[in-house]
């Protein structure tokens, strides 16, 4: 199963290069040195360790948010609270580090733990409302994202704001609280290791533990789960709690890994990236790692050409949109002959298209 998913992943990657080439070539042609543009986009990110580092830094929250989304999607929950949890998790982490007197070594772990718990509420509350009242988690999580944003801004404004900073930002995060950087000359930090480990653990959780097994049963067929007498409400809630903790933890890690202060004034968008990464990886935690890295690679390549040539940043946005389309265009990707070619065996052609719905009672 992982193998066939990997196959479509490889095809996607190859295709993407082709498509990006098609979009990029006309843009490049307008530049004095078209080859340099293409070269910068494709190979640029690997020429300078700092840029390679950028890919990895950027992929870190992508992996974790993707993991959060995947775990909830696997339980059949379309909870969009990852975005708000990430935001609130980052804020609560910074708030803890700033407001609670802690010894230096304890700052990061305690801050992250508090941040994860507080931030997870953005996923957990919709989860609770769904489990308890059967209220659509999609709507409530979408709404609570914005509520979390404004509550967070209120907290920054009234409790954390550094009046000398000029902008609406918190006091500086103490150096002791920052996550250690791992590779000199880059900003790659401990969070990346946590994220990779998280994806591996996510695989273990979903496919090798009882709890993960149960949540997949609920996600695939709630009627079957009810037949077995599984505690469906608790399982739903649990998966959204776990998702929320991961997403909020990711927000804290992002803050302590890359930021000097809490300075978000809007939702940072990592949660949406998480949705994209998760769909790209087909909710398969292991594949979240390459999926997030790949998206970041495209981003960094795009950033590089817009930094180095006169390519408007909107063109990069258009490329991204096209990439998303191609990535999921299963017409080409799920071609059974291609799949067989890649896996070297007979692969099952699964004919799913459109949004995933649980097979039993539709939502």
């Amino acid at each position: 199963m992982i193998r066939s998913a990997l196959a479509s992943f490889v095809i996607t990657a190859v295709l993407l290069v082709v498509v990006v080439g098609i979009v990029l070539v006309p843009i490049a042609m307008q530049m004095p040195d078209p080859l340099a543009v293409l070269d910068m986009f494709v190979l640029g990110p690997f020429r300078n360790p700092r840029h390679t580092g950028n890919i990895i830094e950027m992929a870190t929250p992508g992996m974790m948010c993707g993991l959060a989304v995947a775990i909830m999607l696997r339980a059949g929950m379309f909870n969009l609270g990852v975005e708000g949890a990430f935001f609130l998790g980052g804020l609560a982490t910074v708030a803890t580090v700033l407001l609670v007197p802690l010894p230096g070594w304890a700052m990061a772990p305690v801050g992250l733990a508090v941040g994860a718990v507080v931030g997870s509420s953005v996923c957990a509350v919709p989860g609770l409302l769904r489990a308890r009242y059967d209220a659509s988690e999609l709507v409530s999580s979408l709404m609570l994202n914005f509520a979390a944003l404004f509550i967070g801004l209120f907290i920054v404004n009234y409790f954390l704001r550094d009046p000398t900073a000029g902008a609406m930002v918190s006091y500086k995060i103490p150096n002791d609280a920052r996550l250690p950087r791992l590779v000199a000359g880059t900003r790659i930090h401990l969070g990346t290791i946590i994220a990779v480990a998280g994806c591996l653990l996510g695989t273990v959780y979903l496919f090798m533990t009882r709890a993960g097994f149960e949540s997949r049963i609920v996600g695939l067929n709630p009627a079957f789960a009810a037949h077995l007498g599984l505690p469906i409400r608790w399982i739903l809630l649990r998966s959204q709690l776990i998702g929320g903790l991961i997403a909020a933890g990711a927000g804290g890690i992002e803050m302590l890994g890359l930021y000097q202060r809490f300075s978000w004034q809007g939702l940072p968008g990592n949660g949406w990236t998480g949705v994209v990464v998760a769909i790209l990886a087909r909710d398969n935690p292991i594949l979240l790692i390459p999926a997030a890295l790949f998206l970041s690679y495209l981003q960094v390549g795009g950033d590089l050409i817009s930094r180095n040539f006169d390519v408007p940043s909107e063109a990069v946005g258009l490329i991204q949109a096209l990439v998303l389309l191609v990535v999921t265009s299963s017409a080409i990707m799920r071609n059974p002959r291609l799949l067989r070619f890649i896996t070297g065996r007979k692969a099952a052609a699964n004919k799913t298209s459109g949004p995933k719905v649980a097979e039993g009672s539709a939502a």
């Binding site: 659509s136 709507v139 509520a147 404004f150 769909i279 389309l325 265009s329 017409a331």
Partner: protein, 304 residues
């Protein structure tokens, strides 16, 4: 404060209707797509594009009607694009919608820049606005006049479209087929219905509604297009449609609720409470409403 009296409350009505109009138009679009089984996640991008094209087309022709038609057409076109992505490329529906949103944000800005040299707004384009409508006799009746008359033409369109969409879905052959396709495509195909065609059509109509909602922003609310001016209304519309439980009237009530919450939040500004907390009102009210509604439904089910 004396504006809690009846007349004061009545003066709220136009504000609520204004705020509701774009949400409702977009939510009706989402409704049609959702009932056909192809939930239109690209609603934010379609709205933005509708707002943009409305301005450009009306500036080019000097006619507000042409602007509106342009907005409707571009919405429908984008619906067709989304349908193509889903049915020809067999791309993921949700991701295609997200892609459309990204592309629309980038594309409108880029085009605006190419046309005006400004990435921010279309102030230099002499675009037209759609009129407000005064209903002759009713306008003079004291309370009813405020309630019913003097609104923007698209406000009337939006609210009149509610029974229209409702009747379309429940009473017309196409509506029936659309619902069948959305709920159970295999069964619809067995009944001889061309599923792909119905879904393509639904996305086109959906886009047209959403585009109209976009036109309201740039040709009703204000008289120009500005970058990202849809400002998340598409997502609010998605929420309204889900809260509406698949019916046109439910969608309308949900949109009104969201619009009212927003209007209340606006009115609560400047009362000395932290503005950030006031801004949470439009997002918390719907969640509470959702829970209240869900509990009531649960209790009804339990009693039965």
């Amino acid at each position: 404060m004396s504006d809690i009296d009846f007349v004061g409350l009545l003066s709220f009505v136009p504000a609520i209707l204004r705020v509701t109009t774009p949400i409702l138009l977009a939510a009706l679009g989402v409704l049609i797509s959702d009932r056909a089984g192809v939930l239109n996640i690209g609603v934010e991008g379609m709205m933005l594009s509708g707002a943009f094209v409305g301005v450009v087309a009306s500036a080019a022709t000097g006619s507000a009607a042409a602007g509106l038609i342009g907005a409707i057409i571009v919405g429908g076109l984008l619906g067709a694009v989304l349908a193509g992505a889903v049915h020809i490329l067999k791309a993921d529906l949700i991701l295609s919608g997200i892609a459309l949103n990204i592309a629309a944000a980038a594309g409108t800005t880029l085009l605006l820049f190419l046309m005006t040299g400004d990435k921010g707004m279309s102030g230099s384009l002499a675009s037209q606005v759609l009129p407000k409508v005064t209903i002759p006799v009713i306008a003079d009746i004291p309370l009813l006049g405020t309630l019913l008359s003097g609104h923007h033409i698209l406000t009337y369109v939006a609210f009149l479209a509610v029974p229209g969409v409702g009747i379309f879905l429940t009473r017309t052959p196409l509506g029936l087929r659309l619902r069948a396709v959305g709920e159970s495509p295999e069964s619809a195909a067995i009944a001889g219905i061309n599923v792909v065609r119905v879904q393509v059509m639904a996305l086109i109509v959906s886009g047209a509604f959403v585009g109209t909602g976009g036109a309201f922003l740039s040709m009703g609310y204000v008289s120009w297009f500005s970058q990202d001016m849809s400002a998340g209304r598409g997502f609010i519309a998605l929420a309204a449609e889900v809260m509406g439980h698949g019916s046109a009237s439910g969608t309308m009530f949900a949109s009104l609720l969201l619009g009212a919450a927003e209007a209340i939040a606006v009115a609560l500004q400047g009362r000395g409470l932290p503005s950030e907390l006031m801004q949470t009102v439009p997002y918390i009210v719907p969640v509470i409403a959702l829970v209240v509604y869900a509990r009531r439904r649960q209790r009804l089910l339990a009693r039965a």
